[in-house]
Symmetry: C2
């Protein structure tokens, strides 16, 4: 039975540790491919084109949109963000589980278009821990922290739309937990329709052979 | 966060290896409790009351039914089979994941009554392998094998009602797979409604403290 790749969307509060978690997941297991988003925002210091994002002009971005070259896109804080289609399709075809790290609106758009998508929501063990982590970065202004907490509150409204939550209290165990969830998802009946159909056919033929 | 037990129904073709799989699962992990069914059928050689089944008279069985002491019950080949309620509730309360090994009609009844139930369907890697295993037992007549294959064909019609399939090609990996699926099931949003609600409240309070 050829294993087909699953499309996975990972969302979660800013500060819940998605970035570190994705990195650890990629390092630990070899069945994943991480999709790189395209954006019109300026690269931050230390960011490289093609690594964190593909950095493009607004013109180039909108051209991609018109060519249906993006699975989903959204505007956020005045910049465009989108998921290039070609890479995702190629990796799924090759049997990889492809991870998109996008926010809730994008997640729901992807799920609508590809109902088979697995939606995961990364959560901190508590709101207090989330605030602590945001402050711990040392790079955020008070205003920004407030904005992010406000946004977390908004995003929290959508958690029920996700298939699973992932509680990031410890990097190792959280990575394992996430991997377990994705492995399990490979065994839903709808993701094994072909196998189930084959068994049914075989049973049918077995019955005929026995003259039943 | 207190871990609540999940009610799990395991079904599958006769000959798919459910019994061995359950035994291995119990031996390997300590978060499970296996429910023992009550039946009016006669014990087979080697079967002990309270181990494979609780063997009771039809009168005792029907009394249990009238007292709502069974979660579900069904008649199969002229005998009654049912799941005693008290044991299940006690184990769930203690945080154990409780496994019922019952056939599809019973499974659907349990799911209707307890929508949170996780339904797992154990399958052989192929129909040919299933037939081979049934013959391999050496205890089944040709007529019985035909009957069981016929029944497998009927049960196969209901697979889409199950949450996950478990493919029993190798005992060790299948046991792990099943355990992974059950662990993952603990992380659906509806099984963590309390935790999600707490985080929301905390975020709300955090906002208020910051005077937003």
């Amino acid at each position: 039975m050829k294993r087909k790749g699953i499309l996975i969307v990972v969302s979660g509060f800013s500060g819940a540790g998605k970035g570190t978690l994705m990195k650890k997941l990629m390092e630990t297991y070899d069945n994943y491919a991480l999709s790189i988003s395209m954006t019109t925002r300026q690269p931050r210091q230390g960011e490289t084109d093609g690594k964190e994002y593909f950095f493009v002009t607004e013109e180039a971005f909108l051209q991609k949109v018109s060519q249906e070259g993006l699975i989903e896109y959204a505007q956020y804080c005045g910049n465009y963000y989108g998921t290039p289609r070609a890479y995702v399709e190629k990796q799924l075809e090759a049997g990889k589980d492809v991870i998109l790290e996008i926010e809730i609106q994008g997640a729901l758009k992807v799920k609508e278009r590809f109902p088979d998508t697995l939606l995961l929501f990364v959560m901190p063990p508590s709101a207090a821990e989330l605030e602590k982590r945001l402050r711990g970065r040392g790079t955020e202004t008070e205003e920004n922290i407030s904005k992010r907490l406000q946004r977390a509150k908004e995003e929290a409204e959508g958690i029920e739309n996700y298939d699973f939550i992932v509680i990031n209290d410890n990097l190792e165990s959280c990575t394992e937990q996430m991997h377990s969830i994705i492995c399990a998802a490979h065994y839903t009946p709808d993701r094994n329709a072909e196998f189930i159909c084959d068994i049914r056919k075989e049973l049918e033929e077995g019955m005929k052979r026995s003259g039943m």
